[in-house]
Symmetry: C5
Subunit: 354 residues, 5 copies
């Protein structure tokens, strides 16, 4: 199955406009949790009856509704109805091979992003789609499966550290996105570390596995870029839009986030360049080594093949070979051998092969 573009057959037969889950079902039944807070109070609950969410919109508190598991289209449909989510956005939330994007609605804003995980056993990056819906005083987050990415954010809300509890839903969304982008930088730093190590190996201890490693890293760099570049687009389109529900102060934070994504993008570019340069230098070293091997071969062959011929001559059984009977033929032969050897030594020396 291709990793870079996903099979859409389950969707293909269907009309656009119908709610269909496209992806791998990664958990059993969906779990919905709610955090409702203002500066003073915090309510946390597991949501079993969606109807109870309906009146949240009119409360002054900030509500964060997190949904694990998005394959149950009915649940999504219901949430969409309660929070006035446009139907196309609902469809996009359900299709897990979306390109990250920003969707502007009238009553809320939609954000499709990717959480990336670097699986250290296969050295591959995998992605989960995370969608957000931002309203005046609520954030909905949709995750494909149960995951602990956002636990530090929860902890921060509980302990009332930082600005979350005193800020609005826009700031909450920023904190969640910041968590995602931090993971990007983290993965790049991890892979980057290995790439820089590889760069040293290329020079100090090149072996045959290096080319395959470089290929593997390049594939992952493409994977990163594929997911991170549209995230930057998303932020830039958002920041250029009317910025519904976005507090001026949060803007500064979002600009900072954009900087982080730019940094991620530039680092990917740099590591890509290092990989290309590394492969080139590795190839050059390879051909240097090939030349060295060939020099050794040529020296041995050039010295001993003529000499063997000479010895072969006096191993012939012709009846009349005058040299054979001479008293000093043998020492003379050795002399000639040394002469030829010396001559070739000078020849190779001059060509700087020795």
């Amino acid at each position: 199955m291709s990793r870079f573009i996903k099979d859409r057959t389950s969707k293909k037969g269907l009309a656009p406009g119908s709610l269909v889950f496209v992806g791998n079902r990664k958990m059993e039944s969906p779990q919905i949790s709610l955090m409702d807070y203002d500066e003073k109070n915090l309510t946390e609950s597991v949501v079993t009856d969606l109807e109870q969410l309906r009146n949240l919109k009119s409360l002054p508190t900030v509500s964060w509704i997190n949904v694990y598991g998005i394959h149950d289209t009915e649940v999504i449909q219901k949430l969409g109805e309660i929070f006035d989510i446009p139907s196309l956005l609902l469809e996009d939330i359900l299709v897990t091979d979306q390109r990250p994007k920003f969707e502007e609605g009238e009553k809320n804003l939609g954000f499709i992003m990717k959480m990336l995980t670097y699986e250290t056993d296969t050295y591959r990056i995998s992605d989960d789609q995370i969608s957000f819906v931002l309203g005046k005083n609520y954030v909905l987050s949709f995750q494909e499966k149960k995951a602990s990415f956002f636990d530090p954010v929860r902890e921060r809300i509980r302990s009332n550290k930082g600005r979350v509890r005193t800020s609005g839903s826009d700031y909450l969304l920023y904190v969640l996105m910041d968590t995602i982008v931090d993971h990007y930088l983290d993965i790049i730093a991890q892979i980057g570390d290995k790439i820089e190590e590889l760069g040293n190996l290329i020079i100090t201890k090149p072996d045959n596995k290096i080319a395959s490693d470089i290929y593997q890293f390049k594939v992952e760099m493409n994977y990163l870029r594929k997911n991170i570049r549209p995230a930057k687009e998303l932020l830039m389109i958002w920041l250029k839009s009317d910025r519904l529900f976005v507090n001026k102060k949060t803007m500064t934070y979002l600009n900072d986030l954009t900087d982080l994504v730019t940094q991620a993008e530039e680092s990917i570019e740099i590591y890509n360049n290092l990989l290309i340069d590394g492969l080139n230098v590795y190839n050059t070293n390879n051909s240097n080594r090939a030349n060295d091997i060939m020099k050794v071969l040529t020296i041995f062959a050039a010295v001993f093949i003529p000499l063997t011929f000479l010895a072969g001559i006096y191993g012939m059984n012709f009846e009349y070979i005058p040299e054979l009977g001479f008293r000093y033929s043998y020492p003379i032969f050795w002399g000639v051998v040394l002469l030829i050897g010396g001559g070739l030594f000078v020849f190779f020396k001059r060509r700087k092969w020795l």
Copy 2:
């Protein structure tokens, strides 16, 4: 015949402004079918007398007139006259090597697109030109030959699933274009799958066919890009225009479609990169293998050529070679052989060739 740019000799002698079919005639006589619907009613018919289409424009229902076979210029001319299609657009519909484009008229809009098919026997992509004319309450579609691409759309209209029956002609056009773009993604996914497989083969089981495969894939990637990039332009120019006949709601769908085309474009880019990287790594592995072969050659030659020379010496027939008569010459000879062999072993070991 060149695949990437078509011969225009049949057109060349002629004045621009004359209706001429340029392409391969892919079927016998044209077939025209009509679907006329609103939310409640649906009429399907095969059109034999074009005049019966004339009053459709004034009806409130949505009409989809599909034309298979565009080589009959008279039919096209007549349709043009009935639906007020500008003559340049008519000409473009007839020339099958058009670059995909959008043409804004006063009474209707024209769209030239390409349907792509991946022929699994030749591993080549072929294209058919599909043109659309969008009016207030009708869509005309022109196809080079009979094909089943749009059958799911017909089925959806018949079964009244999704939004088609309740929306206007703009939404119908969107659904048709979406079908085309889905085919793009599908083809990219199919080829992409093979490219990713190839990436594994390069590392695990490289053989001589790989380079040719890479070339073949690169050709097809160029073919895809050639057809898909202008499709994105088409959409972007359309969305920036006055958007005649386009409902605000449909705009969201068209934005989504543009995202899909962007995703297609980016995937092509990624696969192109993977192919380039793959070839580079394959080359590196190749030269690693060459080095290994040369090492074996050099080791054998460097060890045995000098020894053969040594043996040659004592095979000479000089009368006075003192060593020949010594009692222990032969074992000493073997000792020297082992010594030289051992010395070379150490030499190669140090160079890390063994």
Copy 3:
């Protein structure tokens, strides 16, 4: 003489602002012909006295004055005076290594373009500069030498086919430019055809000439791009200008023309890519072949060099070699030979060299 940038020494010493012909004189004395037409009437004549052109400007008919041979500065000067051509434009018409460009005057517009010819004997593209001056009801065309490019246009005017006779001078210019651009596409199609063939040869029957052919094609692709890219600029600048004398209807045609030039440009890009990919794959196949050759060499050498050494040993003339006298030495020797040979066979088999 460099082909991509021309020597300007004949111009260099001179002040800008003086009329000097820069180029190779390609014919004897200039020939000027006139076609003057409206929907009903057509006058064709060879112009001998330039003064007779003076009153054409005030007639309602469209006049096409074609000049073969531009080395006679006096003729050009005179025409410039009659038709109020700005002097800088006149200078540009005379300098045949101009970059294609658009020049906006007050009473007329200037266009410098290149007609390209693919010389099938040398496989090289050559260019002739063609300049146009567009006025309210006239078109002047300047060609370096007599050529038949525009004969089909003349024929069309005579036979009153298409829209030429019923349209203005802007449409005539469009038709002339369309002829030029059609030649571009034609040449690209011809060379493209050969490049696609070459792509097949690389895979099925590579020979040493291929690299040189690729180089030759790349040179020509550069030549094409050099001339076609500014032609696109020309059109785009023109279409963004005030569009003096340009009828709204003709605009649609000019947009179409721009599409054709874009298609030309994209095709050049694609063929360039195919050439690069082709060379890469050819190189890879080359090194595969080198590896195969080296394998054969190594197998032969590794098998027979040790065996020859063995035979050499028993060819030595030491008096005391115990094996020499043994009854079964010879068959045992053969056994050892087969053993060594078999061992190496297994060794090479395991390395997948056999």
Copy 4:
């Protein structure tokens, strides 16, 4: 540890919005110095009590507060409070792996830059983050560690040379930035010098170390670009902003500074190109050398291997080899040897191998 992207784990668990130092602590306790001047007077002092800085804002003199060591968050917090520095800017000052950037506040402007140092023992560039806060009549500069970069600026203020003393805080900031950018150009000139030398070595005296050197230089070029490109962005965003506190005259200087950074960027590009070209040419020379080696090998082998075979034949011990008994066999043998040798000489000569 990856050099191109830094580990953010110390930050990751924490809420954005909290002041945390992220980086390596490069010195003991922070040192704060103050230069307060106008055209006539200059006060220099080491600041021990931050409160004494509070009334500086209301004085007409220009104050330069320089902070060495930024790991003491309390000091930074206090300074932020005194000078109304926005908290996000404070956070950014503390995180030493920031991408250089410009932050617009209401009462002051923030600038994050990088000072680069080329460590001549390791041939690596290292960076220190330098942040500036520009207010109406003060500049705050924050450095990670004690360094002498700005000593010439101090000297100039003391000696009242140039325009510093007669200009405002904007000019002071310009002078400080100019110092940083001058260091960029200096490092590029140093490395560039080595790269140009390397280019000569490649042609005149290539050795195996060159590829590794090129890799090393490319890594450093990436490092330079990573730090310099955002510095240009910073300047351009600043110059496009409202330019708070920036005198019109200083603008000219800032434009000049932008030119310098552009020059830096272009030089990096050029040296990058030279490195790529250099490696290519080095590779080509390498394969030329390989060909030469192989020619020598082939000539020796092709000449002497057949001759050795010939000698081997007459070394056989068959009882009936008629040639063995002939009187002139031996001289004839030599004749044949010379003939074969001569023939091969002609053969190689024709192939231009000799």
Copy 5:
């Protein structure tokens, strides 16, 4: 010393804002000449007392003050004072490693450009900085050393050819710049000529020097681009500015000049591509040659090494080798030799090595 970026140490210690000459002093004391003209009159003089220039500004004539030698800061200072040249522009004129640029002042405009010279003995391009100051009715030109570049312009003014004498200071500046740009094109044409020749050599008569030549040309192409690209920027920024002192008619000439610079830039790009392609094809031909060499080696070795082994066998001295005594052993041996040889011939033939 690096050629692409110059050492700024002489400047570094100093405050921006001080007049310091940075460069190599290329002549003794500065020489200043004046041409003052209108349509009817021309005064030429060598200026010894700068004060005499002061009243030129108020005359209606056009004055061209040319300064050879810019190392005397006092002279420059004085000129600056007389013609109200902004001090930053004065500084830039004195720093000879400036990036070409345009500086807009209130009373005059500044232009920093580079005159390029192709030194045919070293095949290197060298540059001299030429600065212009354009005022309402004067042009100041500053050159590093005495040179004859502008002599044809002087001649033209004297002989009153072309439009110089009848136009203003803007036209004079245009003519001077045109001279500089003509030199660019000239150098590109010279080097381009050699590059095209090299392209032929690569195919017809490749030798080992080619790679070094390509490197040398690429270095010079970088050098050209470095100087020409900012010249284009300069022109474009100027033409987009308020165009102080620029007559509408001169604008057309300046547009033409921009076209020339664009042509220069494009030619550099094309030649760069040709060099890259040339090196690639050269490498491919190289590896073709390597393959040919290896084929010869392999054929000789594969044929004669086994045969030598065979001869070696019958040269062994075992007492009991039955074949030795057979009457027809020797002819049979030759038969076997021919058989093996023939078999290998067929083998190599099938592999298309012969």
